[in-house]
């Protein structure tokens, strides 16, 4: 408990630090949101300057930071230059969509990775394991974008899945079951893409961790008691092999907001991805910092969860 409390205090400090550094780094890169307008022959330098000062871009760093901090306490996280509205609600809607996608995909990816990794560790050297190995290494070498484009193509050619978006046009009028079905249909492709992209490293980690453990004497002892292979793998080997996996799981949580960036762009999922890509390229500072803060929260939470799980699963670890 005391540990948790201390960790929380540290995390708040960390978030503070992240925000300062993020602002600083954004400052380092040349140009701001209004820079490209300078190349528009029909807009005068005066107007650009006026716009900059309207959004406070001409103020020194500490003052801007203070403004931002105030807005954080107000709960709106600054005003987006592009949208002219507070950042928080803009982010919130999209983050929800992203979480729906990544949450589903992560769950599936982990379930698959654990079962497949265990399976292939248990039958290592057999053809199933080999084929799986080749599949995972191919997936690792294919750039994600290519993978997602290919999926989009499949979707388009077969017509089995909707090719973008999150809901059909008449979503509001559907029954509850219909809504779920519609959502699931839209979710399928992006989630599959994300699963395929995140699965291979996980599988390799699970497999390698399991191989380490499978020959431990206590696993042999468990077998000696006639415990079924499945249970040996699940109850004996996995918890001991779990250590690196838990850390990775923390990472998965940490990446809940950022992992799906590319899928969302290619498969037009209305998540934070396309929005953020836009904002990053446009240097919509408060949106970027807002997104950084939001994903930092996930990062901090993810690592905390990972540490807690480590602590909970391995009684030998002491954390105090």
């Amino acid at each position: 408990m005391k540990y948790l409390a201390r960790r929380l205090v540290h995390s708040v400090l960390l978030l503070f630090g992240i925000s300062v550094f993020s602002f600083g780094i954004l400052q380092l890169a040349p140009g701001d949101f209004f820079t490209p307008i300078r190349l528009n022959p029909q807009v005068s330098a005066h107007t650009v300057a006026a716009l900059r000062s309207q959004y406070g871009l001409d103020k020194p760093f500490p003052i801007r930071y203070e403004h931002w901090l105030r807005s954080v306490f107000r709960g709106d996280f600054g005003i987006s230059f592009a949208y002219g509205t507070p950042v928080a609600p803009l982010l919130a809607v999209r983050a929800r969509n992203t979480l729906l996608l990544t949450g589903t995909a992560l769950l599936v990816a982990w379930l698959l990775a654990i079962s497949f990794g265990m399976w292939s560790a248990a039958r290592r050297g057999k053809w199933g394991d080999r084929a799986g190995g080749i599949a995972t290494s191919s997936l690792l070498t294919v750039p994600d974008l290519v993978l997602f484009l290919a999926m989009l193509l499949v979707a388009v050619r077969t017509g089995w899945f909707p090719t973008g978006g999150m809901m059909s046009a008449g979503f509001e009028d559907l029954s509850v079951g219909g809504k779920v079905k519609d959502l699931a249909a839209h979710l399928f492709l992006p989630a599959l893409g994300l699963v395929l992209a995140t699965l291979p490293p996980l599988v390799r980690h699970v497999r390698s961790a399991m191989i380490e453990v499978l020959e431990a004497p206590f696993v042999r002892a468990a077998r000696a008691h006639g415990i079924s292979e499945r249970r040996v793998l699940l109850r004996y080997a996995l918890p001991v092999a779990a250590n690196p996996l838990l850390t990775l799981f923390g990472y998965s949580i940490a990446g809940m907001l950022s992992a799906s960036l590319l899928v969302e762009v290619v498969l037009s999922w209305p998540g934070i991805g396309p929005f953020l890509v836009d904002a990053i390229l446009a240097k919509d500072v408060y949106v970027v910092v807002g997104a950084v803060m939001l994903s930092s929260v996930f990062l901090v939470a993810g690592n905390l969860v990972a540490d807690a799980l480590l602590f909970a699963t391995d009684p030998r670890i002491r954390m105090d």
Binding site: P217, A222, A224, G226, R235, P239
Partner: protein
């Protein structure tokens, strides 16, 4: 008396690191009848544990080569596949490991580890299994079962771990118990209790025991027959008392010598059998 286990020409050779190999067990043949206690003695490293592991088919192909014949209730174990073996392990033949710290999962509560064994052979609910596990633990002489149950292996003392392993082995009332040094880490009093428990089981439930122990007292308490090994071979076999009184082989003599330390004081020379 019916023969429960018949081992013929059992050979175990380990693949060492590199190309070397080590013939740990060579042409070993013996039988165990139902309800019989067969003592197995032999100097350290002579292959006792290897026999135990081979009986249960626990030596993986990468690790060792096992050949010969092992018949349990008339069925050949070496020919069985993993699934069939699993059905025999724990209920048919069960093993109490020599080094309990190696045989217990470091991250599972003691109660759960015992419950897992019960769960594997009885299709009852998990909660029931846990309850039975507590009983099984209580049977091997724990006074504060509650604490032991929720402890992890590294939080127990050596003797406590050994009793846990024994509880696991006994949990499913096996037909044949292989007890590999079941009392080595126990003080005289606890040792007596455990041996009494085993004796009771043998008498009442007619379980057979392959008792591996280097302590003559332990063997004397339980063993009907004794088998003495040296360097992977059986050198002598017979009723315990007979061997005790008239050991014909030097090894047997050395094993059963009751007052070993005294001989040290007398600075007796030992013939090392390696």
């Amino acid at each position: 008396m019916q023969v429960l286990l018949r081992v013929k020409d059992l050979n175990v050779s380990y693949r060492g690191t590199g190309a070397s190999q080590h013939d740990a067990v060579q042409n070993v043949s013996f039988e165990i009848g139902e309800g019989e206690v067969l003592g197995l003695m032999g100097e350290s490293g002579c292959g006792k544990t290897s026999i135990a592991l081979a009986l249960l088919g626990l030596l993986s192909v990468e690790q060792a080569r096992v050949s010969g014949s092992i018949q349990f209730r008339g069925e050949e174990l070496l020919a069985k596949d993993a699934r069939a073996l699993r059905a025999i392990r724990g209920t048919g033949i069960s093993l109490a490991f020599q080094e309990p710290e190696l045989a217990l999962s470091p991250v599972m509560k003691i109660r759960d580890q015992v419950a897992e064994v019960i769960h594997a052979h009885n299709d009852c609910a998990w909660e029931r299994c846990r309850a039975e596990a507590e009983l099984a633990l209580a049977r091997v002489g724990f006074s504060d079962v509650r604490r032991i149950c929720s402890a992890y292996a590294h939080q127990l003392s050596g003797g406590q771990r050994q009793r846990v392993v024994l509880a696991q082995a006994l949990a499913c009332k096996p037909a044949l118990l292989i007890a590999d040094e079941p009392a080595a880490a126990l003080d005289a009093r606890s040792q007596g209790e455990i041996l009494a428990l085993l004796g009771k089981l043998q008498r009442e439930s007619r379980i057979s025991i392959l008792l591996i122990s280097h302590a003559p007292e332990v063997q004397a308490t339980l063993a009907d027959r004794l088998m003495v090994m040296a360097s992977g071979r059986i050198v002598e076999q017979g009723p315990f008392e007979q061997l005790y009184r008239n050991p014909s082989h030097a090894c047997t003599q050395a094993m059963l010598r009751t007052a070993a330390p005294a001989s040290v004081a007398a600075d007796m020379d030992f013939e090392m059998v390696t």
